[in-house]
Amino acid sequence: MQDKQTNTDVILKVEHLSKVFSSKKAHIRAVNDVSFTVAQGETVGIVGESGCGKTTLGRCIVRAYNATEGRILYRAGDGTEYDLQNIDKKSMQKIRKEVQMIFQDPYSSLDPRMTVFDIISEPLRANFKDMPKEQIEQNVKEMAVKVGLNPSYLKRYPHAFSGGQRQRIGIARALVLYPRLIVCDEAVSALDVSVQAQVVNLLKDLQKEMNLTYLFISHDLSVVEHISDKVGVMYLGKMVEYAPSDMLFAKPFHPYSEALLSAVPIADPKVSMQRIPLTGEIPNPANAPSGCFFHTRCKYCKEICKTQEVAFVEKENSHFVACHLRDEVSLQGIPMEE
């Protein structure tokens, strides 16, 4: 498979993915018919507010959750394509080494009862049972240095480290198997601003060095704009827009994206944004609105939006959008610096 825009190999293709959580009382479509493509070596940001399903999407891709419908086509390092939804156990074991995750909370993502060395070496010991001790030690030390940790601290326990350092440990653990695709689930959201900068720089450096592909899930649009090549905007389980980062931020095609972008506080007192007000609240996902999910809060809403469901189509040049009025409205993006 080849990606049209970047002309590089596609590493991940999500097709009509849905995840439904059902209980006796309600059916919640946490992820609702999502489709997008990720090219190798790029960073795709997934943004949205609470309840949009971005975290569930990430977990479905790493197969922590079992999706209800759809396909997750993954291209492994040796070129074979697998559908992660429909895969045998042995192949899944192989894929596990290539698809990893970095978690949000630096305090609950590390087992407080294991030394840092054990935490980072655990994936090695689980997948390479015959690896000699010295080689494990060497691999762990190398990885620690790569993420900026002092190797002499490896015998310490997690409680000896700050939030930023713990996140580095989590990154080292995710990378020690030299994976190809990493899902970063709000990887920097729980960190202080200056520490966020450290970790973001680290992630970018590692991406270049190890030829990684990132799926960067976040609610912080500034960080996403900084780090992403492509961005997907999610609302109530659906992906409403997917485009190259500059195009989406400069000129979005979906009213929700427009509202979202206008709400981001810009770290510059000279700029005052024309805020597009969003009326109402995010609807209950168990009771989603008819037609286009967003019509209850959309200021451009027309009759067709209330009744007919919207398809996710390519409007131009790898810019996908799910809006009935995509050819009619002209939306405002973020004023870009030259």
Binding site: E49, S194, N201, V264, P265, A267
Partner: protein, 355 residues
């Protein structure tokens, strides 16, 4: 000509004659621990003026939350607080809030009445056992009137002012029936019931979605105009600072290291920590340069030596000057103060003020 200051509403005020509503001087908070004396606040100085929003910016461990809680004396008992917090009310009487005894009638008169506070998690600020109306009206009974009908009317009008539709219904609802954004509005309504002079907002939008955050910030700005109050806005999010605040005080390791107008903080930061902080944040729509990252970590505020607290992480440090004594806040420009021996003051275009 005296230097003047123009706040966001375009009003001009003279520097020296500006009435300060809150003046914090040399605030120090120490906690005795087994391992030693922890000093999370080691000398905080700032002034809050009428009708303005002062942003108190800092990362975790800088002491901003403790500072604000000490204004209303709601810190834990084991916190030993010294210094002066001078509060000037509308009738021009000034009193030192730290002189008031813990939980005395005087401090309780001020809480919720003259100085109000709103918090990060609106869900924890309301008790799940009582209706929102009941909790709000409690505040009115305490400070304004015991007349049930009048109190209820006050609460309803307050709810309306913060943009909650159908306040009659909301009055009888429980906190779990509100969404996050609604509840934060209700919290703001509760804080403003008694028309306070100062509103302390401790990270009020951190737990909210971006679109809701924008609504709440707009609301706060509008309410400030309507009520004529001052807002002390605590946050670590520089984006909201740029949109909300008139002036900013940056805190690091228990001290204020720089104060300036919001324009100056973003355009001409002089303290290396402020510069690092501003450089760490990617401005949305801006050029995609590599983010500046401050090396190292925030040290523990215990047994610190008497030298610049930022010394170990500073890229501009002078080994002869900067490690001798902790620098104090000195004026480096028009309304611009910094605690640094090597402030990087850029030459400004435009009119210089006569000193």
């Amino acid at each position: 000509m005296q230097p003047t200051h123009t706040n966001k509403r375009g009003e001009e005020m003279g520097m020296d004659e500006k009435p300060s509503v809150l003046s914090v001087e040399n605030l120090e908070i120490s906690i005795k621990l087994e391992e030693g004396l922890l000093m999370p606040v080691r000398g905080v100085n700032f002034k809050l003026y009428e009708n303005e929003t002062l942003g108190l910016v800092g990362e975790s461990g800088c002491g901003k939350s403790l500072t604000c809680k000490s204004i209303l004396s709601i810190n834990e008992k084991r916190c030993n607080t010294t210094g002066t917090i001078a509060f000037t009310d509308k009738n021009d009487t000034t009193l030192n809030l730290l002189d008031l005894k813990f939980n005395s009638k005087e401090i309780r008169d001020i809480r919720g009445n003259r100085i109000s506070m709103i918090f990060q998690e609106p869900m924890s600020a309301f008790s799940p056992l009582f209706t929102v109306g009941y909790q709000m009206v409690e505040s009115v009974y305490l400070h304004i009137t015991r007349n049930k009908k009048q109190a209820k009317d006050l609460v309803l009008s307050s709810l309306r002012k913060v943009g909650i539709a159908d306040p009659e219904k909301r009055y009888t609802q429980y906190p779990h029936e509100f969404s996050g954004g609604m509840l934060q509005r209700a919290l703001i309504a509760m804080a403003l019931l008694c028309n306070p002079r100062i509103l302390i907002a401790d990270e009020p939008t951190t737990a909210l979605d971006v679109t809701i955050q924008a609504q709440i910030l707009e609301l706060l700005k509008q309410l400030q105009k309507d009520y004529g109050m001052s807002i002390l806005y605590i946050t670590h999010d520089l984006g909201t600072v740029a949109q909300m605040c008139d002036r900013v005080a940056v805190m690091y390791l228990g001290r204020v290291v720089e104060t300036a107008t919001v324009q100056d903080i973003f355009q001409n930061p002089v303290h290396p920590y402020t510069q690092g902080l501003i450089g760490s944040v990617h401005k949305i729509g801006g050029a995609k340069e590599r983010l500046f990252s401050i090396e190292g970590n925030v040290p523990l505020a215990m047994n610190l030596e008497d030298r610049c607290s930022f010394y170990d992480r500073c890229i501009r440090k002078d080994t002869k000057i900067c490690c001798n004594k902790e620098p104090q806040l000195t004026q480096v420009g028009d309304e611009h103060f910094a605690a640094c021996y090597q402030p990087e003051i850029k030459a400004r275009g435009g009119s210089q003020s006569a000193g």
